[in-house]
């Protein structure tokens, strides 16, 4: 079988610019596939991805679940005899694949480039400046409840928080849905049609793998990453539960405010706070600890695994920022300091950044990687061994 290859030079350059500078050093010895503990034995990665990227074979790379089966353990990078850093190159390809599939694509291109950072950050900052100005807080000062700082009072109950974030979250979910379905179709097209494998089982096996971090645990050089990622992962789940319960708590207030039921006791669900506050605090602490471990692991392993790209660090900084600003806002509120307000607004801006740009930032890995893992399970490419 002969296949005419037309190298896509732009794509090769974009991989190089996206953090795969070392791509061209690869001389195809396949040390990487051998030391990789997470690759299947048949058509193993990352050697084939390295040659595909060198030849600019974009469709082969993007229609391939393997780029996401890779968990960037960096065993390949550590043992690579040429310093070609396959782990970093695959990271760059993943970033480009998010850019390829995400909707709208221009946002992904902005998230990927440092020069747009301020523009992206300006959106939530402007939004909250307008909200705060419209409430007259700049001129009249911030309200308190009997001299006590209450964030709910500050932003007109929590309407502005809830509506903005519900909208941002819905946008993110819808955009991610569009992105992963495009990816799924691309994989099916590259592999000659949709698999007849058991989708439900593939899905449940994948979730068990993710919950247990089974693939992460196979890493050798960066074995500490499993712990750090697990902390961040479970703290996100904890914070998600916290958010849902906190929202549930104010539902009676919404009902009252919208005159849906005049006699409702607006405090009837206040007891939920006893559940979500401990969960929230523990999760926030775990988040900060986990992200700190991630940073220190990256510095510790930079000689063997590389330090990572702007894309990686934007996401890491954002998560760290969210955790730290959230905890700080709470402490300042408890200390009844006016500084609690700007800290809280900074926290909201960072959370907005995390939510609204999730389909385009490294946060999107959770959707694309899960999709690729499910696809690989369904097609039998990944058997979990």
């Amino acid at each position: 079988m002969t296949e005419q290859i037309k190298p896509d030079l732009n794509f090769i350059n974009s991989v190089i610019n996206a953090g795969g500078e070392s791509l061209k050093k690869c001389y195809q010895c396949s040390t990487c596939t051998v030391v990789c503990n997470v690759t299947p034995d048949d058509k193993p990665f990352p050697r084939k991805e390295m040659v595909q990227a060198q030849w600019g074979m974009k469709d082969k790379l993007f229609g391939n679940p393997d780029i996401w089966l890779c968990h960037q353990c960096s065993d390949c990078t550590a043992y690579c005899p040429r310093g070609a850093k396959p782990g970093e190159v695959l990271g760059a390809i993943r970033k480009l694949s998010i850019e390829e599939f995400s909707v709208p694509g221009f946002l992904a291109r902005m998230v990927n480039q440092p020069k747009f950072l301020l523009v992206l950050l300006a959106a939530p900052v402007l939004l909250y400046t307008l909200i705060i100005a419209s409430q007259g807080f700049f001129t009249d000062g911030v309200p308190t409840e009997n001299g006590k700082i209450v964030f709910g009072k500050f932003l007109f109950s929590l309407y502005y928080v809830d509506t903005v974030f519900t909208a941002a979250a819905l946008f993110a979910v819808f955009s991610l849905y569009l992105g992963v379905t495009k990816y799924w179709r691309a994989m099916a097209a590259a592999n000659g049609g949709v698999s007849s494998g058991d989708f439900g089982k593939a899905l449940s096996d994948t979730f068990m793998d993710i919950l247990g971090h089974n693939r992460f645990k196979k890493c050798e050089v960066t074995k500490d990453r499993a712990t750090a990622h697990m902390l961040v992962f479970y703290s996100f789940i904890g914070l998600f539960i916290t958010t849902i319960l906190a929202f549930a708590r104010v539902i009676p207030e919404y009902i009252h405010h919208l005159h849906l039921s005049e006699g409702i006791d607006v405090h009837m669900l206040d007891w939920l706070a006893y559940i979500y506050k401990p969960i929230g605090n523990v999760s926030a602490a775990a988040l900060v600890l986990g992200i700190f471990l991630m940073m220190s692991n990256r510095f510790k392993n930079q000689g063997k695994a590389g330090l990572g790209s702007y894309y990686d660090w934007l996401f890491i900084s954002l998560v760290a920022g969210v955790g730290i600003s959230g905890l700080l806002a709470q402490f300042l509120r408890m200390a009844n300091t006016v500084a609690a307000y700007p800290t809280y607004v900074a926290h909201l801006c960072l959370v907005f950044f995390l939510f609204a740009y999730a389909p385009f930032s490294k946060m999107a890995h959770m959707a694309y990687r899960t999709t690729a893992l499910v696809y690989s399970r369904q097609t039998g490419r990944d058997t979990g061994n």
Binding site: Y27, Q28, C29, S30, T31, T33, V34, V35, T39, P40, D41, D42, K43, P44, R47, K48, Y79, P81, R82, G83
Partner: protein, 417 residues
């Protein structure tokens, strides 16, 4: 005219011997300083040369004879150069000579070795067998005078060798000596060492018995080696019927040796013929990144490849583990042309380890710069000092000899200026 017409050669391997005899036969006095008790260096340890597959004694023996016949070559064995002062035409060289404890009265009768109660690892055979502390490396060693290794010998307290010697050849009172010589030119020919396998952690780091190096394979196949030339695997003495060769075991690898060691592909192809000749039903599998058989060596590659029991698999072996039940090494590689990861047990594995210049670990006390890997940068050598062969780059015996002959002319020019 130079004040001193003598030439000093550091190293008594094939390069040093060649440089010495060529220089001497052109009429200059030569002094050889050799670190070990015997001449011949790495070549003596080989079973056969490539590509002609003749034993190393053809070549070595001629040079030994030339040294014996020429009255112009003197040598210091078990000696190292400590200090060099002066300049081209007039160097003063301080040489430290370690005691051999055996004098020239030795006839090589082996009585001392028989009497010696101390066993030590046989370094000549890369530790694959033991030898006595009073020893000779093999039956064609030159000079054919036994040596006593004082790292293991118990000295006069034991003295059994001296009692056994009928020729009064053993002198356990010998002391280290310092010799000063004046020469007009210096040739550096201190050769190479095999790469240290303990650094190859993913290839067993020297802890898997049936994973040996290519130099150990030479000794295993050599008639004067630990098994008398029969290839037997170290763990249980079994005849290995399947051997995997790991090309670039450390070479072409920026984590180890960031250069091609030049000889390993030819060495493995050659060693595949050792195995195939001894065991007709055996198989040799050579795992490579690229087979590099430069120049006319290509024909040797074609010839070995014709054997259906020799397979060449594109894909580097990057992991070796041991099957504890059988002692078989299990290799992992990707067969790149098939796109499949292989995990396969072999009776034995040979690591094609590369060449490290001896100057990587022990520097020569002359003014010179080295590459980061320890190779001599010839242009930085002081006038009147020349480096040969593997000190500058990994090369085979033939190229070392050519280089040594060229350097002989240079050194003669130095002493006649």
């Amino acid at each position: 005219m130079a004040e001193n017409k003598k030439v000093l050669v550091i190293g008594g391997g094939f390069s040093g011997l060649t440089a010495a005899v060529e220089t001497a036969e052109a009429g200059s006095d030569v002094i050889i300083v050799e670190k070990t008790p015997f001449f011949g260096g790495r070549v003596t340890q080989l079973n056969k040369y490539f590509p002609k597959l003749c034993p190393p004694n053809c070549g070595l023996e001629i040079n030994f004879k030339r040294i014996k016949n020429s009255g112009d070559v003197t040598f210091h064995m078990m000696a190292e150069v400590e200090k060099v002062t002066g300049q081209e035409g007039n160097f003063e060289v301080t040489i430290k000579v370690k005691p051999r404890y055996v004098n020239d009265k030795c006839v090589g009768c082996n009585a001392c070795a028989e009497a010696c109660p101390v066993e030590m690892p046989n370094e000549f055979n890369f530790g694959m067998d033991k030898t006595k502390a009073a020893y000779i490396t093999h039956n064609q060693a030159f000079p054919f005078v036994y040596a006593i290794d004082d790292r293991f010998c118990k000295g006069k307290a034991c003295g059994k060798c001296a009692e056994a010697c009928k020729y009064d050849a053993i002198d356990l009172d010998m002391k280290p000596q310092t010799v000063t010589v004046n020469v007009g030119s210096i040739i550096l020919a201190s050769g190479w060492d095999p790469y240290d396998v303990t650094k190859l952690d993913n290839l067993g780091a020297g802890n898997i018995k049936n994973v040996i190096t290519n130099m150990q394979m030479e000794r295993l196949a050599s008639p004067n080696g630990p098994t008398g030339g029969k290839i037997l695997r170290p763990s249980d003495g079994k005849e290995p019927k399947s051997i995997a060769f790991v090309q670039c075991a450390g070479s072409r690898d920026e984590n180890h040796l960031p250069y091609c060691s030049f000889i390993c592909c030819m060495a493995s192809l050659k060693q595949a013929t050792y195995l195939r000749e001894q065991y007709p039903d055996s198989t040799a599998s050579i795992f490579y990144i690229d087979i590099r058989t430069p120049g006319r060596y290509e024909q040797f590659y074609w010839k070995v490849k014709e054997d259906p029991n020799v397979s060449l698999i594109k894909g580097k072996i990057a992991r070796i583990t041991e099957d504890p039940a059988t002692g078989n090494p299990i290799i992992e590689a990707e067969d790149i042309l098939q796109g499949k990861k292989i995990k396969q047990a072999f009776d034995m594995v040979v690591l094609a380890t590369g060449m490290v210049p001896s100057t990587s670990s022990s520097k020569i006390p002359v003014q010179v710069s080295y590459t980061p890997e320890g190779f001599v940068m010839p242009a930085t050598l002081m006038k009147g000092v020349y480096a040969v062969g593997t000190l500058k780059s990994p090369v085979d015996v033939a190229k070392s000899v050519q280089d040594a002959t060229g350097v002989a002319i240079k050194s003669i020019q130095s002493v006649r200026r």
